[in-house]
């Protein structure tokens, strides 16, 4: 058990370290990037960067400096906005991204899993066909297409929801729908096939042969085991909800981190790009760690395997 937790924790830290390193050196490779002492647009920013990272130092020292900054949760000054820090940029967008992201994640779990179960239990009957048709559309049509079509139909034509912003609670509908559409479909398909596979397992036959009630067989023996694969993809789901928010926040003009990220890309705000990337990665690593722990609770075999190593 502890072996597994330590192993996961180590993997998380190593990955985070790899991400910071990779990001730093990639950004250093950019001509005119933040870690070269070439002429920059604003002397103010140049001075701030110099004070923080000592741009005349050798590269490895700058790297250590940056690393120290990140470890003390300081992502440095913005490369484009004088007087603005990357931390401030993130803090500004965080509430919006968190709210939409959390709602989307909730929809993914609360809609995807039940839809998959309904489909599996009605295999080859109309509820199954319906869910599968919708889910197939959901995984094939890109989120930005769903978003723009939904924007046009529900906001521009029908006027049911605002076209942008989150001032009105109805403003959440479309972004959350567009953000989670793919993953609801994906999880529904996964939950369906996983439950169907579980229903075929010998131990399900044993459970029935013991005379257990149908509900017990299904929920205690079937569902729990079939949810294991679903839980394992929740980490990547969070990752993709985050990256998905880039376009969604752009389309619906939401002032979230994703929008800031895309803006920093267009503005070539290199320190912001770096900082937001690292922030995303950190959030993800934590989510993946949580999912790994959840996995541990659900599947006792994991603990055994890790300890046996």
């Amino acid at each position: 058990m502890t072996a597994y937790v330590v192993q996961r924790l180590l993997l998380m830290l190593v990955t985070l370290f790899a991400i910071i390193t990779l990001t730093f050196f990639l950004m250093h490779a950019v001509p005119g990037g933040p870690f070269t002492s070439e002429k920059m647009l604003q002397p103010e920013i140049q001075a701030a960067l110099n004070a923080k990272y000592h741009l005349d130092d050798p590269l490895w020292l700058q790297y250590l400096n940056y690393l120290r900054g990140v470890l003390s949760l300081d992502l440095g000054p913005s490369f484009k906005y004088a007087g603005m820090s990357v931390n401030e940029i993130i803090a500004e967008g965080l509430p919006v991204t968190m709210k939409t992201g959390a709602l989307a994640l909730l929809c993914v779990v609360a809609l995807g899993v039940p839809l998959g179960i309904v489909a599996a239990l009605n295999r080859n009957r109309w509820p199954d066909t319906l869910v599968m048709v919708i889910a197939t559309i959901g995984v094939a049509v890109p989120s930005y297409v769903i978003a723009t079509v939904a924007l046009y139909v529900f906001a521009l034509r029908l006027g049911w929801v605002p076209t942008f912003g989150l001032d009105d609670w109805r403003g959440y509908f479309l972004p959350v729908f567009a953000l989670s559409g793919f993953w609801i479909s994906f999880i529904a398909r996964l939950a369906r096939s996983s439950l169907l596979e579980t229903l075929q397992q010998d131990y399900m036959m044993t459970a029935k042969a013991k005379g257990l009630k149908r509900g017990t067989v299904l929920f205690k023996h079937g569902l729990r085991n079939s949810l294991i694969p679903v839980v394992t993809v929740l980490g990547p789901v969070v990752a993709n909800l985050l990256t998905g928010s880039f376009v969604i926040e752009q389309i619906f003009a939401l002032p979230g981190i994703g929008r800031h990220f895309v803006l920093s890309i267009t503005n070539r705000d290199y320190t912001a790009i770096m900082g937001i990337t690292i922030f995303y990665a950190a959030v993800l690593m934590v989510m993946i760690f949580i999912v790994d722990m959840l996995y541990l609770v659900l599947d006792p075999r994991i603990k055994y395997r890790a300890d046996a190593k």
């Binding site: 036959m205 459970a207 294991i228």
Partner: protein, 343 residues
């Protein structure tokens, strides 16, 4: 068996037919199987893979997969017809009066629940006892099937057990509510040879001690010879031959049984008792032949065999055989009919 004339049998299956309705058509897995089983008796069922052994038992338990349906016949268990019971009534019986053990102990236990929980939930389902009482009963059962340090092992997960130990857990689950009938579907096939012997010895011992009836399905004629009282030989979804184990092995009345036995040099031999294949392959159950299903592979096949399905002939005391050779006008074949049916 003399008792069979006195008290009504525990289980009496008659003319049971089960089909699977698949996209390719109707698979006739079981075709008109009949047999009786008395309390405390061990009935062995042998036959090649796909002959319908498991499906026969699954039909009794109401455990057919959704595409499968019993289309005909009855199975009276203590006066009630299992086939007509609804799911609720059946689930009251399952694990309680009738229990089942499966072939592969590696997959028949739920990997994410402790073995203790899997025993306890069975007891709690059928008995009005507290959790603590159920737990005490589970420990008792683990001791009964000789799982060492029973109380401690209740908290283990299946993957922490070896195959033999898992099968002991399965047996403990099956015996949890003192069943009157235990169906063991190839309980040792997936185990090592030494473990096989231990498990069989345990089963036989427990059967003697608890006095339940057992249906033992196996490919292993040696197991049948050592364990069973009576044998049912199945082929192509039908009963080919039935009889007391000694007589049937000594003098098979059916060419198929003879084929099975011929492949084994000596039943008391320690080498493999598995069926060596008879040349050819079993019939396609989507389109079963209209005559004897064994005809394409039978060394004694006659024109009549392809023309019509042979009936089950009486073939001596307590014995039946489905073969045209038992027709009084049929040619005599030494070893099968000559001594049994006087001309």
């Amino acid at each position: 068996m003399t008792t069979s004339h006195m008290s009504p049998p525990l289980l009496s299956v008659s003319n049971l037919s089960t089909s699977f309705f698949t996209s390719r058509g109707e698979v006739k897995a079981v075709r008109g199987v009949s047999f009786e089983l008395n309390a405390g008796e061990i009935l062995g069922i042998v036959g090649e893979s796909g002959s319908g052994k498991s499906i026969t038992c699954m039909s009794l338990m109401g455990l057919l997969r959704s595409s499968g349906r019993v289309i005909e016949g009855s199975a009276r268990f203590e006066g009630r017809d299992l086939i007509t019971l609804d799911e609720d009534e059946l689930s009251e019986l399952r694990g309680n009066d009738i229990s089942m053990i499966f072939q592969d102990p590696m997959t028949s236990l739920n990997p994410t629940l402790t073995v203790g929980e899997q025993v306890i939930e069975t007891i709690l389902r059928h008995r009005k006892v507290s959790r603590a009482e159920a737990r005490a009963r589970a420990i008792e059962l683990f001791e009964l099937v000789r799982i060492p340090s029973a109380a401690k092992r209740l908290k283990s997960y299946p993957h922490e057990f070896s195959g033999g130990m898992r099968q002991r857990v399965m047996i403990a689950i099956a015996l949890a509510c003192d069943p009157k009938l235990l169906i063991a579907d190839e309980p040792t096939t997936a185990l090592d040879v030494t473990i096989q012997r231990q498990i069989l010895a345990l089963l036989k011992e427990l059967q003697g001690r608890l006095g339940m009836a057992v249906i033992l399905i196996t490919h292993d004629l040696g197991v049948i010879a050592e364990t069973a009282d009576r044998v049912l030989v199945m082929y192509g979804g039908m009963v080919m031959e039935e009889g007391p184990v000694r007589e049937l092995f000594a003098r098979p009345s059916h060419p198929y049984t003879r084929g099975l036995l011929a492949s084994i040099p000596d039943l008391r031999d320690d080498t493999h008792h598995r069926l060596t294949p008879i040349p050819g392959s079993p019939p396609d159950m989507l389109r079963p032949p209209k005559g004897c299903p064994f005809a394409p592979r039978c060394p004694h096949a006659m024109a009549q065999c392809n023309a019509a399905l042979p009936p089950l002939y009486h073939a001596g005391e307590g014995r039946r055989a489905r073969c045209w050779l038992h027709h009084p006008e049929a040619p005599r074949v030494a070893g099968i009919t000559a001594e049994l049916v006087p001309a």
